[in-house]
């Protein structure tokens, strides 16, 4: 019981540490979305622009993998080890981060979407050559939110897994990764078979089936990413 309490406290402290680390991350994300809105409506309006929901999705797909590469590096991991934090606790915290960060980011995009609607109404009242249309329904929003969340979590988990292996076994993972990328670039058959496999996985999906496939890939990535962190040497 005492040990469990101590681990729980350690986990809370670890999560708080990550929260402090990720403050800057969220400030950057907030600034990007805000900057996009300002440029969209105030500075140089483009002829056609998409909503914050889509901008957020692209931002998440770029920013979260980068964040995972950073938090799995040796120096960052070793900073977090202080008794009673162990490898299991650290991996659990990483998994929680992978699950929570995309959710917060997507919720922030909903806030910015509302700001955009407000600005669109304001722009409409002051100009005659601006028009906007709603291309959203209750179901497309809910399904879009859920699938986007699953897809971002899946990509983040995959990056976390690859980074976890890479920092522990740089040479083998580097060689395999480079060979894979070169194969994709130069070998037509290899490229066709890889894209064929991805196409078969995601061909004509239903939202439920796609979520299931993404969830399986995510769980596999969590399990595979756990192995190198569990084996890593901590002085």
């Amino acid at each position: 019981m005492l040990s469990q309490n101590s681990r729980l406290r350690a986990m809370k402290a670890l999560l708080y540490g990550y929260y402090l680390d990720f403050k800057l991350f969220f400030e950057i994300y907030f600034s990007i979305l805000l900057g996009l809105i300002i440029s969209k409506f105030l500075i140089t309006p483009s002829a056609s622009s998409s909503s914050s929901l889509n901008s957020a999705l692209i931002n998440c797909m770029i920013m979260l993998p980068v964040a995972m590469m950073v938090i799995t590096s040796n120096s960052e991991l070793k900073k977090k080890f202080s008794f009673p934090v162990d490898r299991d606790l650290l991996v659990l915290c990483h998994i929680l981060l992978i699950l929570v960060l995309p959710l917060v980011m997507l919720l922030m995009s909903c806030f910015f979407y509302l700001v955009e609607l407000l600005l669109a109404e304001l722009t409409l009242s002051v100009t005659t050559n601006f028009f906007y249309s709603l291309a959203i329904t209750k179901s497309s929003f809910l399904i879009g939110f859920a699938i986007s969340y699953m897809a971002i979590v899946c990509i983040t988990a995959l990056t976390w897994m690859v980074s976890a292996w890479f920092y522990r076994h740089k040479v083998p993972v580097g060689v395999i990764g480079a060979a894979f990328i070169l194969g994709l670039i130069y070998l037509d058959d290899f490229r066709d078979s890889v894209f064929g496999l991805i196409g078969r996985l995601f061909h004509n999906p239903t939202p439920g089936l796609l979520s299931l496939k993404l969830a399986v890939i995510t769980l596999a990535a969590f399990a595979l990413g756990y192995i190198p962190i569990k084996r890593m040497e901590v002085k």
């Binding site: 669109a120 291309a135 986007s148």
Partner: protein, 157 residues
Amino acid sequence: MNKWVMIALSIALALSFALVYALSPSDEAFLSRYASGEYITVAAFDVPLDINGIVDTVNTMYPFTMKKVRMDIDKLEVRVNRNISGNLADFLKANLDVKLFFVPETYDRLNTEIRFPRSVYRFSAETFAIVGWFEHFRELLGNEILICVPMNYTFAE
């Protein structure tokens, strides 16, 4: 950061989600906004009706979305949805520049050239693009402009 600030931020984010959901129309309401009766004709052209005509090219209506349809009508028409925020129909009536070019001799093929002489800006408050993977939701994107031709015409593209 203060605990209460965090709680307030969390509530604001959850409310944002709820508000976006509440402000979004249902599928049925959305589809009814894009029913054929919701489009207004902004340009119409007489075309020969005694031939099986082919419309070779219709240039894009950027920044608007467009759909080409065959209808039981006797003219080539450019129609615009009346539910677009802002008075798009009046704007297009005043500013749209549409020209038809018939291929000489046979006159069964024609090209259309559509331009906006004035700059025009469009914002699409669209849902997550990822729903485009699903056929059902692809129908829920709506088209702002329709290019309508009589039934004896076909689109080459």
